[in-house]
Symmetry: C2
Subunit: 319 residues, 2 copies
């Protein structure tokens, strides 16, 4: 019998999501494993393996699973390890040979692993808007800013497996904001959900301009989005600014790998109506003439609840 199904696992700090997926990107069955506070990687891996086995049985596809794809913070494609991932207590202080151990615990089904943004890129290439593209760059705009770069139809992993940290290229060289990575001025400090909220808070402090956001305690990017939908001038300018910073850096990335498209994904990409125009304009204003108006700016259309599972699962088709 052909093995026509794959399993995708998206590992997160709060919970991990699992799904059994077919070649068209239909999620046949899915489940969630809540984060276990244990710092023992073997306990965690056993728990995940049990969940995989149960889910595969539920889906009725036992014996037909080609492989398991895993997207995980700090996941390394080459080594199959997760190492020094601050949000995963069981992988925060060393290197866990995750792919190897999970495969063993799942009766030898092969396992492929990479970080979440690379998995998202493979997902878009396999099931999404980048289907058929050989050259594109995936940018994930979530709590942080991640990236997955595809050249000649393959994700770029680099010499060590960690290529594609575009969220930590420098967007603001002088007096840039402190980033979570400890450096200043990173793209992530401006164009993540946290960055958007911070821009709004800083601007409200700098003027007395009326804004719906003045009524909000602890502004989040979602609040800025809701205010923008109401036509709030400050909120709209926050997205203009965010789009401009993002577009300027996208222009640099285009000059690196000359992609056919940039694909945006993640919470902030939901604010498409507000960031598309300023991002596209800044991108085209900042590329060499030969690329002006030529590189597509696309938004992922994968269902957000499935996207992480799909991305991870797509890795397994290459096994």
């Amino acid at each position: 019998m052909d093995k026509d199904y794959v399993v995708g696992i998206d590992i997160g700090g709060q919970s991990s999501k699992l799904g059994v997926v077919d070649a068209r990107g239909e999620v046949l069955a899915q489940s969630v494993v809540k984060a276990n506070p244990s710092a023992d990687a073997d306990v965690i891996i056993k728990e995940l393996a049990d969940a995989v086995i149960k889910l595969v049985a539920q889906s009725g596809k036992h014996g037909q699973i080609r492989g398991i794809g895993v997207g995980a913070p700090n996941g390394n494609y080459y080594t199959g390890s997760i190492a020094f991932a601050p949000n995963l207590p069981w992988a925060a202080h060393g290197e866990v040979k995750f792919a190897e151990k999970l495969s063993e615990a799942c009766g030898g089904i092969p396992v492929s692993l990479t970080n979440d943004a690379n998995a998202a890129a493979v997902g878009e290439m396999t099931y999404g808007v980048a289907k058929g593209m050989k050259h594109f760059i995936m940018i994930t705009l979530g709590t942080g800013v991640g990236s997955g770069i595809v050249i000649d139809g393959k994700v770029v992993y680099g010499a060590d497996g960690f290529a594609g940290e575009l969220g930590h290229t420098i967007a603001v060289r002088h007096n840039g904001r402190l980033c979570g990575c400890g450096r200043t001025g990173c793209l992530e400090a401006y164009c993540s959900a946290i960055g958007v909220a911070r821009t709004a808070r800083e601007w409200l402090d700098l003027s007395d301009e009326p804004s719906l956001l003045r009524e909000v305690q602890n502004i989040t990017s979602k609040d800025v989005y809701e205010a923008a939908k109401e036509g709030d001038a400050v909120a709209l300018r926050v997205f203009d600014f965010t789009g401009r910073i993002l577009g300027e850096k996208l222009a640099d990335f285009i000059q690196f790998s000359a992609p056919e498209a940039i694909v945006l994904f993640g919470g902030l990409a939901r604010a498409k109506d507000f960031i598309y125009e300023p991002t596209l304009k800044a991108m085209n204003d900042n590329v060499l003439p030969l690329w002006k108006g030529k590189v597509k700016l696309l938004f992922s259309q994968l269902k957000e609840s499935d996207a992480a599972i799909l991305g991870a699962s797509a890795l397994a088709w290459e096994l």
Copy 2:
């Protein structure tokens, strides 16, 4: 008989250089064709083909040439064309199907073509300091700043063949210098030979600090280099500044493709003693901790007079 030799042609605005090269990177014979002011591409190609045929005959390797590799401004690897190259009157106003026509004029020997910086990267990978490396970035510091990016052992050409314009990524975002490309703040406006000379001239205007450079009319980068060798404080600071700007951008590039090394080449790379330290420091100060101190900063060791021919010739081994 095996075809164990290749021809390299480096096409320039002033002259084109040709060489017959063996697998170890020895240039067995070489010649120069002075630029012909003709705007007729067919005339130029005939002239180059005649020179190739003559040189191959001289080298005694007739019938043993595997292919011809060409490095040319605005050369496109995919199409084999040279298009809109401002310094080549015969290819300045349209697209010339160069590879196809040269092959025809040379009796059907296959021809591969790319731009000069990509050719330099292939040259380093075939004969130079990047031999055996799968992931590195070549930066050519000449009149302009060019780049050739190698990932998984292959030059990155991108969707359209024009990838790797790192000299035109933005180094200075606000009040940046005007670049030859018409935009402002490009890396090339600071870290090319012209950029170095300009930095020196600007700084001399801004202070009364004594400097050997004050005696020089129309300062060039070579003058700055000579002054630095004499210990001139202004000239030394110019190289410090140039290295810092370069290193900051190299850090961004590392975060893109996670290379094993950056290889510097070109006129300015000769000032190694003055730019190595500030470049390396800025590079390591600006990368994510995971790459700090890990990516090598190398200088090409190919003989400068042969390097352009070697780079171009290396393309032909892949034919």
